[in-house]
């Protein structure tokens, strides 16, 4: 049964490709698409050490529920199949293969994590399945020549780190920098971008580097070492659980550096609140999305639309959690791509339209932050703005910086 179906789907796909050359007429469908349905696959860590990210998968499903209630995209509803991989690469391989080979999805959207996406990077490109808008900021997701079926979404880690480095060079040139990073692709990407941003000052200014494993229970000893190194600037490259621990521990032992927190963990709801809002005062991060707790947005129609969606479709989720904004924006980006595809819903055309977003604005991105892609630019969002935490919310300062130009 399944084999017959997949064979038929393959023929439909080949037929679609053949038609592309000639006079295209009528609808063309890749696997997972019918006149009424588009199947989309996803993996998220709903269990395991990175399970805080599971909120993203749930919120994306909630957004597609809204799209479906409003009639879908060009009359087609979205069937969003999101599976748990527990942040374990072998499990991701299994789940992604299930989505592609059993469930026959059109594309993989927003699968989360750097090691997990790396494990299926080659598989998806060999199978020519779009690995679209992956939920990781590693810089390796934007290589259209080598991996034409893979595209990132959020600003990549290296560019973000360069923005902090530039700020430190300008405002605290005599700072002594301590760094804490997660010992994996993600942490090292930030570290590399940061050192590149500091340039020849890096060796002089960085006085301590500490790392931790994602499986570690705490990072208390690393924070104590950083304090003892005499650092007065702290670049905090940690995932949510560890970010909360770092903020609390630094405050508890009376270490008050100029604390830069990577964008990955700047959620007020899931990081700063558990760490203690008073302890989070003075943190600096960079933003590209609107912070749902920031009062300056809360009367805007964009925010009201978001909060209405949250109330109706994602009522159990935390309304202060940035992840719910992230998922909302990311899901809207995919909806835009599918809209642009029209009735030509082949995998090739999905990638073509994903690489054809021009000054696309999203309601919950910061004003001035737009999405641009092209066949040679697979980094959709590249602008950010710095922000400081005042004990209640992030307060933006300075201009929107185009990170692709901050070199």
């Amino acid at each position: 049964m399944g084999a017959v179906r997949s064979l038929m789907a393959a023929w439909v796909f080949i037929g679609g490709l053949a038609l592309l050359g000639g006079a295209a007429s009528g609808a063309q469908y890749g696997p997972g698409v019918t006149d009424t349905l588009i199947k989309i696959g996803n993996t998220n860590p709903y269990s395991g050490p990175a399970s805080a990210y599971g909120a993203i998968g749930r919120a994306i499903a909630a957004y597609f529920a809204k799209v479906n209630d409003e009639g879908g995209i060009n009359g087609r509803k979205i069937d969003f199949i999101s599976l748990d991989d527990g942040y374990s690469p072998p499990r991701t391989v299994e789940q992604i293969r299930k989505l592609v080979e059993q469930d026959q999805v059109l594309l993989i959207f927003q699968s989360l994590g750097t090691p997990t996406n790396t494990a299926v990077h080659q598989y998806l490109n060999a199978k020519e399945v779009p690995q679209l808008f992956v939920a990781t900021g590693a810089s390796k997701w934007g290589q259209p020549k080598k991996f034409p079926w893979t595209m990132g979404w959020q600003p990549n880690y290296q560019s973000e780190a360069k923005i902090y480095a530039r700020y430190i060079l300008k405002n605290k040139p005599d700072g002594k920098i301590g760094i804490l990073y997660q010992n994996d692709d993600y942490g090292k990407d930030y570290l590399q971008g940061f050192k590149a941003g500091l340039g020849d000052q890096a060796a002089k200014m960085i006085v301590a580097e500490q790392s931790y494993e994602v499986t570690d229970p705490t990072i208390d000893s690393q924070i104590i070492s950083l304090k003892n190194s005499g650092a007065d600037v702290f670049f905090d490259i940690t995932t949510p659980k560890f970010a909360a621990q770092a903020i609390r521990k630094a405050a508890d032992i009376g270490w008050k550096p100029l604390h830069f927190l990577n964008n990955v963990s700047n959620s007020v709801g899931s990081v700063l609140t558990p760490a203690g809002l008073d302890k989070s005062k003075g943190l600096i991060t960079s933003l590209y999305e609107k912070d749902p707790t920031d009062p300056q947005w809360q009367d805007s129609p964009e925010y009201l639309a978001w909060i209405n969606w949250m109330d109706k479709y994602n009522p159990d989720a935390d309304k202060t959690d940035q992840f719910n904004v992230y998922a909302y924006n990311a899901a809207m980006t995919l909806v835009q791509v599918l809209k642009q595809c029209g009735d030509d819903l082949t995998r090739a055309n999905v990638m073509h339209e994903a690489a054809n977003l021009k000054d696309f604005e999203l309601p919950m991105l910061l004003p001035g932050v737009v999405i641009n892609t092209s066949p040679s630019d697979f980094y959709p969002i590249e602008s950010m703005q710095l922000a400081k935490f005042d004990g209640e919310k992030w307060v933006l300062f300075g201009d929107v910086i185009d990170a692709s130009k901050a070199k």
Binding site: L83, D84, P90, E94, E101, Q102, A119, Q122, D184, G187
Partner: protein
Amino acid sequence: MPTGRALALAAVLIGAGALPMLLGDYRTFQLTLALVYAIAILGLNILTGYNGQVSLGHGAFYALGAYTAAIMITQGGVAYYWTLPVAGAVGFGAGFLFGFPALRLQGLYLALATFALAVATPQILKSSHLAAWTGGVQGIVILKPDPPAGLPLSADQWLYYVTLAVLAVLLIGAWNLLRGRSGRALEAIRDNPIAAAAMGIDLALYKTLTFGISAAYTSIAGALGAIVIQFVAPDSFTVFLSITLLVGLVVGGLASIPGAIFGGLFVELVPNLAEQISKAAPWAIYGAFLIAFMYVMPYGVWGLMRSLFQRLRRKSPATSRLRQVPAPAKNGRSKPWEPSDH
């Protein structure tokens, strides 16, 4: 009786051989992984089930095999099948050496020492000193081997048959090892080390060799796992892997060779089944399955099957004369489903 057993074996082999033809590539891939886990669990069973040395760290040997294969394939350009004997040899060496400190540790203390091994593994793999070989946190991507030219098989089907063949060879090896004198020696050490020593069994030699063989089996499984998954990374070999192998061991049946296959199927398929039942709390469902298994089959899947076979045999007239022998079960101590070799 032997003809019945041979028929059953032939049926199992034909069934196992036909499965990939009936299933799609994804299901075949899943079954291949189940067989890979079965090999690893078989290795753990030799150590824990037969010899009574509890290991919470076999994930480390699995990782060792996986990395041996990955490094040989990507850096040495070696064909994937040559990596299996090498992984086995490396695993044997590592296990044999680890067996020496293990001699001084019993029961839970040994479990803790091996647990330390499992905890340390991801960090050692990420270490910058080894990064030139291990790829550090990035891991190593392996290309999937193609089936030999001329065979009408997909890459997934081919790997399934390779894994099945390796499993068959290792099953026969384990059977040969465990059924005779050496098997009795291993179980004697498990049940009463003092008596075993008094019988002239060299405890140190047997225990370290058992550790080595067990680790070799698990390393071969790791190498196959790496080839099947096409990717190794430190995050793939967390403590959870070691626990998973132990779960498979107990579910399949302690001190039973075929039990490893059921253990492999359980640890591979039940998490997926649990996710299909409830997306919200798959691990709670998994836990419920585990508890149910332990209650229904306290001696593992193979223990249950054995007791069923025995009941059937008792009912058949050809063996009814056995009933005249006074059953030891009368004293209430041993249970009818208890495997005879337990």
